[in-house]
Amino acid sequence: MSSLAVDKVDPAVGAAPGAAQGPPLRRRVALVPTLTLLLGAVYCLLPVAWVVIAATKSGSELFSTFTFLPGTGFTENLSDLNAYREGIYWQWMGNSALYAGLGALLSTAVSAISGYALAIYRFRGRETVFNVLMAGVLMPPVILAIPQYLLLAKVDLADTYWSVLLPLILSPYGVYLSRIYAAAAVPGDVVEAGRMDGAGEWRIFTRVALPMMVPGLVTVFLFQFVAVWNNFLLPYIMLSDDEKFPITLGLFTLLEQGANTPALYTLVITGALLAVIPLIALFLVIQRFWSLDLLSGAVKS
């Protein structure tokens, strides 16, 4: 069960002194925490609410009407966005889906097999391999991205889909989570029983261990999906052909052009709204699967 859906049951309700008057304590609301959390929620939702409203405004309304007053231009903005450079916006969305979807899938596969190997087997060099892989998580992306670009340029892979996909497949964090999850979810005697039955190691991994690891791997996949979808630095360095841009880079170039032609601002805003919808939807649908306990387990150990 993910912690996002857990609620505390308090057995001590009603036992505190001073509870004699007023409604039973169970019904009382802790005002300070509730209000603080509501304030936090308002702060976090404010820009999202703004973009929803701003996307309905026409170019002239954007700078002339009150910020949170809905406008009349939403359909027009949408068709403008569709028409912009023959619908390149949707190409960017498709690219992002490809980078994030395929990238996260490959990343999860590599994390699963590496994490499983590191968790289940005892072998020479295990901790060394693990520590070296983990050092990768500490490497600032900058020291990687520029030489990655130069090296990929040498083998003619810069400015291709591969240049954004390949560097992100190995996720040290994903390996870390997979190892922890495999150690917790795959019992050693199950693996041993598989061997007794004459199954090979590969077969034990794919048929026995992998199904047990699925909940943890969903988490790894989602983290990696969000990480790739939100990445800006790598595609910014790697790509120059805007047909291959992911949505983050596409919106950025649109905004950059908007500095000279403010008419593009409405496109940027409508584009930003449509770009966050898939992620928010994904987020709402899958938040119950997110194993955040796993995350904090990772933090603790």
Partner: protein, 307 residues
Amino acid sequence: MTSARRRSYGVKGAPYAFLVPSTILFALFFALPIGYAVWLSLHKVQVKGLGLGADARREVWAGFENYAGALTDSEFVAGALRVLGYGAIVVPVMLGLALVLALMLDSEKVRLAPFTRLAIFLPYAIPGVVAALLWGFLYLPDVSPFSFVLQRLGLPQPDLLDGGGLYAALSNIAVWGGTGFNMIVIYTSLRAIPAEVYEAAKLDGATPLQIALRIKIPMVAPSLVLTFFFSIIATLQVFSEPTTLKPLTNSVSTTWSPLMKVYQDAFGKGDIHAAAAGAVIIAVATLVLSFGFLRAANSRSKQEEAR
């Protein structure tokens, strides 16, 4: 197929075979680029004559020349100071907020917790570029609801995209984007504390505030240390937010953060050797600062244990 594989590596060989993909990827996309960056940073291009012809441009050993160049470059140093100032705002504010909100979520009889938890976590799903873009528009005086309200009240409207306001503007974007994630990490470790731990304190009449300060915060200290550690690393790498605000204001230069300066060196000026030295310096500084923090935190907790 399966039996053939099994014969080929068996139980002993299996872990090595399973680790082949990650090892190859690590070598190609981590070790090699880092090695190449270090190599580049220690070399420079020497131009013979007019720089024409096949052999005119050669890479020669430069020693620490590129490093000296970067460290004495006023733009680079100014950028580093800006980012340190920015980090000094972002990290404490973001994690302070995350801790307070996590404690509130964990308190008794709180209402609407599932909704607020989700709302506060939501910015995690929004790319930094889009976050900077949304806030950037909200800072523009013509669009901003804050300016609108201040104007109606006849109060002066601070320009958030200029001077000192820019730090607040950029910090706000990072705090907005990062608080929810850190709140969830802290909250999850709060939930892991068994209830019996509080029972005795409650019977002794401790207030929720006392329980939070004396019991809860010390017990989640390890996750606080780790969220600090990762926040320092992320903050010093700031790139996409100031880059995104650049088209909206003239006060973000192309070299606002050290990372933007490195990008300029590499792709604006085409000096990959200087860029590599800059990147190595940022990486080393980040690691020194984050690990320095980790050590300080650890030695302090050891002292406390000894007491």
